[in-house]
């Protein structure tokens, strides 16, 4: 594990640089594609649409798709919460000492994330309707996340697994700008565009009374 830790430690700054450079390059390419606001006269509020799209519309009861698939929604939220917690945990370990209660808490969150990611992997691998829309990239992305969450979980409860965690982080950093996890950035762009257009067209208006 020491050897892995040393190797991962050496690779880590390069992986961060690779990640930053490729993310910037790829994002630059995407942004350069350009966007022009719809020219039809607005009927609703784009600002309100964006706000709604980035907040309340993501609540589980707001969408039929999440109401129909509560476990998938929960797993998605659990996985992303786990990733975020593990990232915060990693940063904290690097720049400050966590109080003694913190690592187990992060460990639990990472564990929840791992369980969720594994559940989503299983769903993808076993449900017939998922296969036609699945490619190796989907599996690789999920496995890399699982490995990272596993590293965080083990490190939270035992300091001896830092090498594994760091190696997982390196692998993740190398792959994110190239594969499906790149959606971590475009998710917000996509939701903003959604809110902008549907808000502008006056589609996202709720609970208005039906009366003269």
């Amino acid at each position: 594990m020491d050897a892995l830790d040393r190797l991962a430690g050496m690779a880590f700054p390069w992986a961060v640089a690779w990640f930053a450079l490729l993310m910037a390059l790829r994002t630059g390419v995407v942004l350069r594609r350009g966007y022009r606001l719809e020219l039809g006269v607005a009927k609703g509020s784009p600002r309100r649409g964006i706000l709604y799209s980035l907040t309340f519309s993501m609540l589980p009861w707001k969408k039929e798709s999440t109401r129909l698939h509560p476990w998938t929604y929960a797993a998605g939220m659990g996985m992303h919460l786990g990733i975020f917690a593990s990232f915060v945990f990693a940063l904290g370990r690097r720049f400050a000492d966590w109080p003694p209660w913190a690592p187990p808490l992060f460990g639990v969150l990472a564990g929840l994330g791992l369980l969720s990611a594994a559940g989503l992997f299983l769903k993808r691998a076993t449900r017939p309707f998922m296969r036609p829309i699945t490619s190796p990239d989907d599996y690789i992305s999920n496995l890399l996340v699982q490995l990272y969450l596993l590293g965080a979980l083990l490190t939270a409860f035992s300091g001896g697994w830092v090498g594994l965690w760091r190696a997982a982080a390196v692998a993740l950093l190398l792959y994110v700008p190239l594969g499906k996890i790149y959606h971590m950035l475009l998710f917000f762009v996509s939701r903003t565009l959604f809110g902008l257009q549907f808000g502008r067209r006056g589609v996202l208006r709720h609970d208005l009374p039906v009366s003269y």
């Binding site: 020219l39 039809g40 006269v41 798709s65 998922m130 829309i133 990239d137 190239l178 996509s190």
Partner: protein
């Protein structure tokens, strides 16, 4: 004739390259393939096979993008389950992307906010450009461009039709002086119907004309531009869309009207109201409104008086996807129906989450997909049945056509009408109500269940 293999592939790549703006690139890149869009699709709910999943349809273009436009896809295409595009692949796309109504319900339900319909429209554009679009759809577009109507209705046919409608209205309104104003320069409104209404639902055209007359506004129709539909939308091809829309726009400019009024034709409204300004790269020099929006305004400002007693049977409303989800005309028909009918019953879900009837996206013009189209109306049929309504009103002629067929296919036993039909029935005063004599006062409008 289909292009050769090389030309077809080059055309496909060219279409994608030219359309790659920020939104399209985002929708191509940000999909997580979670599959949650599947259950949002009426086609998939009625027949849960892979080709009906919105993400599967969108993946046609996405896989080409990954193969030819992303660094990792260029090096390791297998990673994204993609490969070199062939003409055979394009042939395989036809059924996948044209068996879709472009209703965008999946966009509303996507956790990421991916607009699958814009990707599916891109696939349709590729197939159109490579000569692989369903022949009937392509023929309707050709007729629209060359004759001025997707049904091949000539100017003479139109004039004959409108004179007949005029005669009917004179009798009905007991107004010998009534005449449809044609080519009136300087009118406030230019009303353009859809060919399908002129041919199949002349009653709806009469209803629109009665509403325009009752409102006491200066309106006109055009003798050279008498069809508002736009098959460019169905083919996903903005160039065809522009060609067809240009005729409407130039006529509205020639007649110097303030507002172009579309009839109850969902995609036509969407095309002119929302897409055309982007196609031409500038806002239109006049307003575009749907007749339902205007009627709602006129009821609100007291120009039109309605008597709900004229429509005593329970009525439900089907939200046309292009009017509601893609057009933002949501509360207007509801307010109108609340004033024009005795009992209004909402379907569930409704508004931007309504189920598509299955007739949109040009599907009604592709006879080879009739079985799929009727099957895909299952969710809508169940919704209608649950309301117990005797009448289904809608604001789109295409939906009306499909709802009528669904009623027959699923034994619903409902009457399918347009919103303007019910409004015209309920008109009092200059509109001459058939059923009632008094106007509804605010607060007295039709009951909402």
């Amino acid at each position: 004739m289909a292009a050769s293999q090389e030309t077809a592939v080059a055309t496909a790549l060219d279409v994608i390259e030219k359309k790659l703006n920020l939104p399209l690139t985002t929708y191509l890149e940000a999909c997580t393939h979670c599959g949650l869009c599947a259950d949002a699709c009426h086609l998939y709910r009625a027949d849960p096979v892979a080709r009906h999943m919105p993400v599967f349809k969108a993946d046609t273009v996405r896989k080409v993008y990954q193969r030819y436009f992303t660094p990792l896809g260029r090096l390791f295409p297998w990673l994204f389950g993609t490969r070199d595009l062939t003409e055979k692949d394009l042939d395989g796309w036809v059924e996948t992307v044209f068996q879709c109504t472009l209703c965008r319900r999946c966009s509303i339900e996507c956790p990421v906010g991916i607009d699958n319909a814009s990707l599916i429209a891109t696939a349709r554009q590729i197939l159109t450009r490579t000569g692989k679009a369903p022949p009937t759809l392509a023929e309707h577009a050709r007729l629209s461009c060359e004759v001025g109507s997707p049904l091949g209705l000539t100017r003479e046919d139109f004039l004959e039709r409108i004179r007949w409608i005029e005669d009917e209205l004179r009798e009905e309104l007991e107004d010998e002086a009534f005449a449809v104003p044609l080519d009136l320069v300087g009118a406030d409104l230019l009303f353009i119907p859809a060919s399908i209404e002129l041919m199949k639902y002349p009653r709806t055209v009469q209803s629109c004309l009665r509403i325009l007359r009752a409102a006491g506004v200066r309106w006109t129709m055009s003798s050279v531009c008498y069809d508002v539909t736009n098959f460019g939308v169905f083919l996903g091809d903005p160039e065809i869309g522009k060609k067809i829309a240009r005729r409407d726009i130039e006529e509205a400019e020639r007649l110097r009207v303030k507002t172009l009024v579309t009839s109850e034709c969902g995609h036509a409204y969407r095309a002119l109201r929302w897409e055309a300004p982007d196609w031409f790269g500038k806002p239109l020099p006049f307003e575009v409104k749907n007749i339902v929006e205007l009627a709602d305004e006129w009821v609100r400002d007291g120009r039109l008086k309605l008597d709900p007693c004229a429509n005593a049977q329970p009525v439900t409303y089907h939200d046309p996807c292009n009017i509601t989800r893609n057009g933002g005309v949501i509360e207007e028909p509801r307010r109108l129906l609340a004033a024009a009918v005795r009992q209004f019953r909402e379907m569930t879900p409704n508004r931007e989450r309504n189920w598509c009837c299955g007739g949109g996206g040009g599907l009604h013009s592709m006879p080879e997909y009739k079985d799929v189209r009727l099957q895909s109306g299952l969710m809508k049929a169940d919704q209608i049945k649950a309301t117990g309504a005797a009448v289904v009103a809608t604001a789109c002629a295409n939906c009306q056509l499909q709802l009528g067929e669904l009623s027959e296919h699923y034994g619903l036993g409902v009457r399918c009408v347009s919103v303007t039909d019910l409004v015209a029935e309920a008109l009092v005063g200059r509109g001459k109500a058939i059923g009632g004599t008094t106007a509804a006062r605010p607060g007295e409008a039709g009951r909402i269940d």
